[in-house]
């Protein structure tokens, strides 16, 4: 969802963004078994935009409590994890380069194999 006010960033203020993050398919076990996280993500590197790459590093630092190798591999998610931005596969929006907007919903879900 677009909301131009969310981008009113001057050089003095840090970019802060309200996001909903959801973990599923077992990934919630890595963050206290909590599936839905309403978070305020602060951009650390002075940029006036937030990408999925930034978010991943924020998640790894702030939410993942154990076994980070079950969430990430290198600078992206591990194989078998689908990433959805506003119910849409991040492959369609530029993967790590996807630009996030205020109130976006980002889902990380591990593919299941059971039956």
């Amino acid at each position: 969802m677009q909301n131009p006010q969310g981008f009113g960033v001057s050089e003095e203020t840090l970019l802060k963004m309200q996001l909903t993050l959801e973990f599923g398919g077992g990934l919630e076990l890595l963050c206290d078994s909590k599936k839905i996280h309403n978070v305020n993500v602060e951009q650390q590197n002075g940029e006036d935009k937030l990408t999925m790459k930034d978010l991943l590093s924020w998640v790894r630092t702030n939410l993942i409590k154990e076994r980070p190798e079950m969430f990430m591999k290198g600078d992206t998610v591990r194989p078998g994890v689908l990433v959805l931005v506003n119910d849409c596969d991040w492959e369609l929006s530029g993967q790590l380069n996807t630009l996030l907007e205020e109130k976006d919903v980002v889902v990380f879900i591990s593919t299941l194999h059971g039956g």
């Binding site: 599936k35 078998g80 059971g114």
Partner: protein, 287 residues
């Protein structure tokens, strides 16, 4: 011939009358279904309801692949099997159940594990493949086999209180490898045996698999290709999300893919996923 042009006998008209009166399904949808063949790989938690609805709805030829026997700890979710079949092959049990609810369709028993050595032969006999299995190497193998044979694949999965569903390799849509080019680490692949599963969750996903396969077989509606359904049973939430299309770089179905039938036969899915194709049943001593 005493058959009318649409191939429906008076008994069929009676049995399927609730389908025939549907404007968006009707005689043509039912005739398509009766002419179709569907293979269900796995007569477990997902396969149980899918098989029953395929049989009931009049899929002309219904194949079942499984090498397991019915166990008591399957019974909480595999509603196609009766207690009398505990210890007997799942394929026999499931086939008997399908015949008992519809004696007019053809049910084919494949009492064996699906392997690269038999998959091409078995899958090639069916129009639509339903993946109702429970492990990563088999899922890659079935998808690749569907790609080389050009068959649509209705894929479901369930674990714990979550379920997932999509249609692969349909109408230039993505295959399993388009979504998951690299297999997940083995530790990320829990089975229902070690992770547990609420019985009715594969029930819901299996029914949704039946719906998608029936839509494809009958040529009605919009199959769930390029979309994925995610079920969170505990919170009562279902989301249907848009997923990527066919990947031009896909090793199985991409533009420059050289994945042939011979390549398939020689591919080592156990090594690729670092997981055995058939997991021996675990003995649980948790309590």
């Amino acid at each position: 011939s005493s058959y009318p042009a649409n191939g429906l006998t008076p008994d069929m008209i009676h049995r399927y009358s609730r389908h025939l009166v549907l404007p968006s399904f009707g005689v043509q949808g039912q005739a398509n279904l009766l002419k179709s063949s569907i293979l269900v790989v796995g007569a477990g938690g997902l396969g149980a309801p899918a098989l029953l609805y395929f049989a009931a709805s009049g899929v002309g030829r219904l194949g079942i692949v499984d090498h397991d026997v019915v166990e008591l700890n399957n019974m909480h979710r595999q509603i196609i099997h009766r207690e009398a079949y505990v210890g007997k092959p799942k394929v026999k049990s499931a086939a008997a159940a399908c015949r008992s609810i519809n004696s007019t369709i053809q049910v084919v028993e494949h009492e064996e594990a699906l392997r690269t050595s038999n998959a091409l032969e078995i899958l090639s006999k069916y129009d639509i493949i339903v993946d109702a299995t429970d492990n990563a190497p088999t899922r890659y193998m079935i998808s690749d086999c569907c790609v080389v044979l050009g068959k649509p694949l209705v894929s479901g999965a369930a674990l714990g209180l979550e379920g997932q569903l999509t249609v692969y390799n349909y109408n230039s849509g993505p295959c399993y490898r388009c979504l998951f080019p690299t297999p997940p680490p083995r530790t990320a692949c829990q089975s229902c045996a070690d992770g547990g599963v609420l019985g009715v969750v594969p029930g819901i996903i299996g029914c949704l698999q039946a719906l998608e396969a029936i839509k494809i077989a009958a040529s009605v509606g919009e199959p769930l290709s390029g979309r994925m359904l995610l079920l969170d049973a505990l919170s009562g939430r279902i989301r249907i999300v848009k997923i990527r299309g066919r990947s031009t770089q896909c090793e199985a179905c991409g533009e420059n893919a050289t994945f042939t039938q011979q390549h398939f036969c020689e591919f080592d899915y156990e090594k690729f996923t670092q997981t055995p194709l058939c997991v021996p049943p675990l003995k649980l001593n948790l309590l």
